[in-house]
């Protein structure tokens, strides 16, 4: 897998994760995968191998805050919530995503 390709995927992944946390509030990694899957009507499936490194990177960049908590079932889990930086980042990424899709669909129409 070339690096460039990976970057695009990662960029999309962080947009999806940030948006999911924005929509649902504080949540753990497993809930994130199921939420994205459901919200995308099973179209998108998040790879665990990408999710956790991505979450940790976002935590280091200060986009999300992580804390250990207990689920309803009484299991210890790490919960992620959005920081102010994360919200700004989400706005930026959403903006650029929409610009990209607009551009791509136009290009497709006129091609």
């Amino acid at each position: 897998m070339s690096k460039q390709n990976n970057d695009i995927l990662q960029g999309t992944l962080s947009l999806l994760v940030l948006r999911a946390i924005e929509a649902r509030g504080k949540m753990h990694g497993y809930a994130l995968t199921s939420h994205i899957q459901k919200a995308s009507a099973e179209l998108l499936r998040v790879e665990e191998g990408s999710l956790y490194p991505a979450l940790h990177r976002m935590e280091q960049d200060g986009w999300v805050r992580a804390e250990w908590g207990v689920t309803e079932k009484g299991r210890k889990a790490k919960f992620y919530s959005l920081t102010a930086t994360g919200e700004r980042q989400l706005a930026v990424e959403r903006e650029s995503w929409e610009r990209l899709t607009r551009g791509v669909s136009r290009a497709l129409r006129y091609a």
Binding site: G29, G49, Y52, P53, G62, K78
Partner: protein, 866 residues
């Protein structure tokens, strides 16, 4: 912030890993729950969940790497790996570390000398504003000279570039009082001396501005050394008096040990200038100054030269063509010869270090070829090119660090040794130490060294072809590496040749200095100094003492000759005067700067300076008659066409005429290496400070007792000092050349040895690599001798290339050394020929020894192994 966390996390790796495991485990557990809710058994659910999850270890690694600084962790791993692999090859490791230690240690030691003597800032406030003001005269061929007191006073009055200008003059004093009477060196300085340099006394105060005025109370400062040695650092000494030359002087302060120069000075006294007793002809004070803030040296120089032109107009005779040179004080303290010497040593030791680096690079390459398989396997298992390179560099840096640490030990020993053998006339050498900047330099050097020798093998290893390297440990790729190693060895040999050639030049130069005929005979002569205190010795008493001393000397049994003189040749106490013929029209005569010597008859006899014409001084010259003896060269310069200068007249400065009574042979009065300076001798010049020279068969030191007894008989309170055989003065004069030759020679020998080891290493490598080929040749009928010859020749060819390049480099280096060479051209063909012969001999030996092994190859066994 994030990076900081990741660094910190390095030390809590276990906890981080645990947290990541927990998080991932939670994910799997949730999935299992979900699958079980869908109707699967727990076992199936677990298997499916694990399968869906994928490579947990990889995810864990990836996640963890985000939290921990991977580069550092790799470094730890690499370091541990390097340590293991170095331990596995102890002979290689020891050889490499020893080589590096020699290079780094020698370089550090020499650098510490360069730093202490040359680079270390002077202990003054704003030292770059402190300058020395020289007088110069291009017509007399004098580029730098002391100043006359009237000129100094004119500068001080009329210039505006300086905050202050001070004059200093060396003298010495008899120190009596408690304890043995002793002779101490003293420096007389005008009152603002300490302000001008910006030096604070360690105790008490410096001189007050009016303390150099005539008739002021006698005040003195002591050096810290004398204060500690003689007065045990007694703080109550300040304000008390000490007897100097029979008079009481009040001690007002203690000068610090490091004054930047004058490290042998023990007493500081105010210099009282008496313009009525001074002449503009008489250049005898050193002038230092502090430039005003913002005034560049060039501006001060221009101002004083303008002033010198004015003075020439006002006082045409004594000031004719005298100009001024203002230069940083460090240029005076550390003169150009010292700098060139240091530079050459630094270059030499740098070359040695480079040779050491190449040698280790070669060792590493040799090792790399035996590790080809290891690298191949690691590459095949997925180690990245960068990772392999990094690991090899770590190994090199590890080697360099070990070499650097051992080198530092060697440097400590080296500095200790250098302190013992550095000639006394090397400025500031007394403070030689391995200080912090030197340590920093040594560490930097170690690092640069490690990178230098480590990169080549790392590059080679990272360009391995994985498949071939696993299949054959030695083989196809070997020839490229052999070429690389040959290039390295040729380079190494080139550097070694440069060093050996430089050492050859310096040694030849030193040899020639040893063979210089100074014009006098140094063997069996003792010199000593006597300084009569003014308080007890009037003019008449001084004369009587000298007359009595000469008479008593002639009564010493076994003494062949003995006499009194103002100075001794090569003793560094020479004085210079301008003089010219007094028989031409006034003003038209040519003036010459001459070494000026007062000497009695016995001086010429003791030193065996041959008389060429006329007569020596005799009883006719006992009282102040105006007769003079000239050196041959001087007479020839004064009257180039005259057949007989006897009876002609000369004039010193603006003094009365003197009649020439004799011509003596030229002598090297000031230094061994300068051409004999013109010398003028007078029989009597009133002085209380003079030398005694004595000649007797046998060890000159034995004469010392006889001299002391003789002097004690005349005056029991009179010390005799600076008692030295004349031969020692001669040795001291060439001590620097000896040291340069010795150090460069040692570096050259080391480099040559390393170079030879390198050649031998490459040759034996090529023998091993070519064994099958050689075996075939021998099987086809080639005699062992022929094969040995062929292999030796290939080693020799590599050296020859290096040798040619090295000799070219050496003649370039010779230009830097030109200042240090005496009667040796920097491209002297004889020396270069000899150097080439030595190097070729070494190369031949180094190629032939390993090649000889070929004779022991059994073709059958060798071929079967293939």
């Amino acid at each position: 912030m994030a990076r900081w966390h990741r660094l910190l996390n390095l030390f809590r790796r276990a906890r981080i890993s645990q947290a990541i495991d927990d998080e991932l485990q939670f994910h799997i557990d949730e999935r299992v729950d979900e699958l079980m809710a869908g109707g699967l058994s727990e076992t199936d659910a677990r298997i499916l969940a694990a399968r869906q999850f994928g490579n947990a270890t990889l995810y864990r690694e990836r996640t963890r790497n985000l939290n921990v600084s991977q580069a550092l962790e790799d470094l730890f791993e690499d370091a541990a790996y390097a340590a293991r692999s170095l331990r596995r090859a102890p002979a290689f490791t020891a050889a490499a570390i020893l080589t590096l230690a020699l290079g780094i240690g020698a370089t550090t030691a020499i650098y510490s000398v360069v730093r202490t003597v040359w680079l270390r800032p002077l202990p003054y406030s704003a030292p770059n504003r402190v300058v020395r003001v020289w007088e110069k005269n291009s017509r007399l061929g004098i580029p730098r000279f002391s100043a006359s007191v009237p000129n100094f006073l004119s500068w001080r009055e009329r210039s505006s570039s300086f905050e202050s200008l001070v004059a200093i003059q060396g003298t010495n004093a008899n120190l009596t009082g408690q304890g043995e009477p002793e002779r101490v060196r003293s420096l007389a300085v005008t009152a603002r001396f300490f302000d001008t340099l910006g030096i604070r006394p360690v105790r008490g105060r410096a001189f007050a501005p009016d303390e150099d005025a005539p008739g002021h109370a006698r005040v003195a400062m002591l050096s810290e050394r004398l204060w500690q040695r003689r007065y045990a650092g007694d703080p109550n000494l300040i304000g008390r008096t000490i007897p100097l030359n029979g008079e009481n002087w009040i001690v007002v302060g203690i000068a610090p040990a490091d004054m930047g120069f004058a490290s042998d000075i023990d007493i500081w006294q105010p210099l009282t200038l008496d313009p009525s007793r001074e002449s503009r002809h008489d250049h005898h004070v050193v002038v230092l100054g502090r430039l005003k803030q913002g005034v560049p040296t060039g501006q001060a120089d221009a101002e004083l030269n303008q002033l010198a032109a004015q003075l020439e107009h006002e006082f045409p005779d004594p000031s004719q063509d005298w100009r001024v040179l203002v230069a940083p004080v460090l240029d005076w303290i550390v003169d150009r010869d010292t700098r060139s010497g240091l530079l050459v040593l630094l270059i030499a030791v740098g070359l040695l270090l480079l040779v050491a680096c190449i040698n280790v690079a070669n060792l590493l390459l040799a090792r790399a070829s035996s590790r080809v398989q290891e690298f191949g396997i690691r590459r095949a298992l997925g180690a990245g090119r960068g990772r392999l390179t990094r690991q090899l560099v770590t190994e090199s840096l590890g080697l360099a660090s070990a070499g650097g640490a051992s080198g530092l030990l060697l440097a400590v020993l080296g500095v200790r040794g250098l302190r013992a053998i550095l000639p006394a006339n090397v400025p500031r050498a007394a403070h030689l130490s391995l200080d912090f900047p030197v340590l920093v330099a040594a560490v930097a050097l170690t690092f640069v060294t490690g990178m230098t020798f480590g990169l080549v093998p790392a590059w080679v290893a990272s360009h391995l072809d994985v498949r071939t390297s696993i299949r054959q440990a030695r083989g196809a790729s070997g020839s490229g590496r052999l070429r690389l190693r040959q290039v390295l060895v040729a380079g190494e040999f080139a550097l070694a040749s440069m060093l050996v050639a430089s050492a050859g030049l310096l040694l030849a130069s030193f040899q020639r200095i040893q063979n210089v005929d100074p014009g006098f005979q140094t063997q069996n002569v003792l010199t000593a100094r006597i300084s009569l205190p003014e308080a007890r010795y009037s003019r008449d008493r001084t004369l009587a003492f000298q007359r009595d001393l000469e008479r008593e000397l002639s009564a010493i049994p076994g003494l062949q000759a003995g006499g009194i003189a103002r100075s001794v040749p090569l003793g560094g106490n020479g004085g210079t005067m301008s003089m010219g013929p007094a028989d031409g029209a006034p003003g038209s005569e040519q003036k010459i700067a001459v070494a000026f010597q007062m000497a009695r008859r016995g001086y010429f006899q003791a030193l065996r300076i041959p008389l060429r014409r006329g007569r020596l001084f005799d009883e006719r010259d006992q009282t102040p008659t105006r007769s003079t003896l000239l050196s041959e060269g001087l007479a020839h310069r004064l009257w180039p066409d005259a057949r007989d200068p006897i009876g002609r007249q000369v004039r010193f400065g603006d003094g009365p005429p003197f009649t020439v009574v004799g011509i003596v042979a030229d002598v090297r009065q000031l230094t061994l290496t300068d051409d004999p300076a013109p010398v003028a001798y007078v029989p009597y010049w009133f002085l209380r400070d003079f030398f005694v020279v004595m000649r007797a068969p046998g060890e000159p030191a034995q004469l010392a007792t006889a001299l002391r007894q003789t002097v004690a008989k005349l005056d029991s309170a009179q010390p005799v000092f600076d008692v030295r055989p004349l031969a020692d003065l001669r040795d001291a004069d060439s001590a620097r050349q000896r040291l340069n030759a010795f150090l460069t020679g040692s570096f050259a020998l080391l480099a040559l040895a390393l170079g030879a080891v390198g050649v031998a290493g490459v040759t034996s490598y090529s023998v091993i690599r070519r064994t099958p080929e050689i075996a075939i040749r021998m099987a086809l009928g080639a005699t062992p001798e022929r094969v040995v010859r062929a292999v030796t020749a290939s080693g020799l060819r590599v050296c020859l290339i290096g040798l040619v390049a090295g000799l070219a480099g050496a003649s370039a280096l010779g230009r830097v050394m030109a200042r240090l060479l005496y009667q040796v051209r920097p491209d002297d063909p004889v020396i270069f020929g000899a150097v080439a012969a030595v190097l070729l001999g070494a190369a031949l030996l180094a190629s032939w020894m390993p090649a000889r092994r070929i004779a022991r190859i059994d073709p059958v066994t060798a071929l079967r192994k293939e």
